[in-house]
């Protein structure tokens, strides 16, 4: 093989791509741990990133943590890890502990937020974060700052009015925002063809006067390339992009769901064959950056990290019930 490896043509170092893979595996393993804790009755809720790690890793690599404003959605565990959260942070969150960085235990797992990382606080009603991202992009433009706003959401959510209104305004004002649609083929039980009549969600961009790009969401490098393009364009004052990454949700919608009621095991099995983790591992192996030994040692060290994090989180303090009524409004003396 004397072709230039694909990641080099994208100006990514060997370290960057192996790190990317490390985050994907970490996300998967943390996610699996969350299910385990849930199934053993220790925690109340899981919402999963499984199947979407590659897309999130690709997108995450194109962002500058702590500089770009990020408006994630509940499946963005891998993205959060790439931006700076740790396994421990997210395990604290599934236990609803005081220390967890998203909300101090106030919100369900998957409701991310972290001010120091410029990750805005999210809620459950889908799509509300999309105008927020556009608002932060408006602020960037008004003040001549050079960050971009990045917002992610599911394909089902691209049907919500808030998506439409926010995308339109971003187009009119050519704001520095990247709309990132993680099209995992389902909105809970509703398959894409029952939610959407367009071929690709990215087709919608033309209605807002900007570019739409559909990429294979199981190919992290392809996603990186598309999002990087969108970020660079935004920073150059050339307006928004809608990037749609297509992949498959490998597990039920959440720990409260039973996906056997609406999709066949064969369909899920087929999708597992196209898992982005497999994709990335074989790419790294092909270009000589990876092998079975590295894989094993990675998994071992991550398992240790996750075990420690679990122990820590399990024993961590709950919020003080006396804080229940705090922070509805700014407290005296605060701004």
């Amino acid at each position: 093989m004397n072709e230039i490896p694909r990641h080099k043509t994208l100006e990514l170092s060997d370290l960057q791509v192996t790190e990317m893979y490390r985050y994907m595996v970490l996300a998967r393993m943390v996610d699996e741990r969350m299910w385990l804790l849930n199934r053993s009755g220790k925690t109340h809720f899981v919402i999963s990133c499984q199947g979407q790690e590659g897309a999130q890793a690709g997108a995450g690599l194109a962002l500058q943590a702590g500089i770009d404003f990020v408006f994630p959605y509940y499946r963005d565990l891998c993205l959060m890890l790439m931006l700076g959260h740790t396994a421990k942070d997210e395990l604290l969150s599934v236990f609803g502990r005081a220390e967890e960085p998203n909300s101090g235990g106030r919100q369900m797992p998957g409701h991310y937020g972290d001010r120091k990382l410029r990750i805005f606080t999210g809620s459950s009603p889908v799509g509300t974060q999309i105008p927020h991202a556009v608002g932060a992009a408006l602020a960037a433009k008004m003040r001549g700052e050079s960050y971009v706003s990045f917002v992610s959401f599911g394909e089902g959510t691209s049907n919500q009015g808030d998506f439409h209104e926010a995308a339109n305004f971003a187009g009119v004002r050519k704001l520095p925002v990247v709309f990132f649609c993680e099209n995992n083929q389902y909105a809970i039980s509703i398959p894409a063809r029952r939610e959407l009549a367009c071929e690709n969600v990215a087709d919608r961009a033309v209605g807002y006067g900007f570019e739409g790009i559909t990429v294979d969401g199981t190919d992290p490098l392809a996603v990186y390339e598309a999002v990087k393009h969108a970020v660079d364009k935004a920073k150059a004052g050339k307006g928004p992009t809608l990037v749609e990454a297509k992949m498959y949700r490998l597990v039920p919608h959440s720990s409260d769901d039973d996906d056997r009621t609406y999709r066949s095991r064969e369909e899920v099995e087929a999708a597992r064959q196209k898992d982005s983790l497999l994709h990335m591992k074989s790419y790294l192996t092909e270009v000589g950056l990876w092998d079975a030994v590295k894989e094993e040692s990675l998994r071992k060290s991550l398992m240790a990290e996750i075990n420690d994090a679990t122990t820590y989180a399990e024993q961590a303090m709950n919020p003080d019930p006396k804080t229940l009524s705090r922070y509805v409004y700014a407290e005296a003396g605060e701004q």
Binding site: H44, F45, G96, R97, A98, S103, G105, R106, Q107, M108, P109, H111, S123, S124, P125, V126, G156, T157, N159, Q160, G161, D162, A187, I188, S189, I190, R194, E195, L196, D256, D257, T261, Y262, N318, P319, P321, T323, L324, S325, V328
Partner: protein, 327 residues
Amino acid sequence: MAIKQYIDAIRDALFEEMKRDERVFVLGEDVGVRGGVFRATTGLYEAFGEDRALDFPLTESAIVGISIGAAAAGMIPVAEIQFADFILPAVNQIISEAAKIRYRSNNEWSSPIVIRAPYGGGIHGGLYHSQSVEALFTHVPGLKVVTPSTPYDAKGMLKAAIRDPDPVLFFEHKKLYRLLKEEIPEEDYVVPLGKAAIRVEGEDITVLSYGYALHLVLEAAQQLAQEGISSHILDLRTLRPLDDDAILEAVKKTGKILIVHEDNKFHGIGAEVSALIAEQAFFDLDAPIARLAGPEIPAMPFSPVLEREYQLTVDKVAQAMRALARF
């Protein structure tokens, strides 16, 4: 008679009404193939097909808006909003449209739709799967707002709602779905909207409540009975319109009033109940009108300790009832 849970009662009512009248259909997110995330519509897809158990894209404003249009063309849509918290994107269609269509068309058009939504907390749902939203709608002329608290009422009131010529918001407390069972007649019956129900007759204090909180009140009343305090308990059942006569009657019985709801207190529906009493039964009162309700915070947090701290409990209710009795 058959023994049914609240969720069964809902499902049976839907099934029977769809069978009775082919204009009736259900629509919402995951109500078809999946049978609803709470399983309230299970079996309807199989029995009535995909058009009448209609899986809808994730768009609440369209769920309600399209229901209104279908009703205008002669159908009777029963829309499910997956969680009451997610009714907010549909508020414009509910308040600007459904509520005003009869009035603004001078009675030419109407909006016979039902919007079902599971509400309330205590299921580790965090801030956005625990809210009580009834008070956002009870102020609005043109809407009816109902919140049955038993399987029997759930079935009979859902049937009444479906047969009602005007828009009805039908709120089901999700903790009730599988909390208790009750005997329910096999034959068709309706429980009329707008009528409260006396749950316990008593002499010392009157407690007005609805939904899950009512069951806490009932339990607390049993405790208090052992202490020699006799409670008169009224289940409001419908929050708009309120059953003024029943409320004023219940006030007369004891002169000491406590209103209990899970929703936060400030300008909750308890405020209207209190104001009605203070206006129309003032001279029947022997004590300040008390309210026990949720704290003034957005909703129940996810952390179990915070959630517990938010929630009403039998103890908290009993304490409020005791304080009133001693007044």
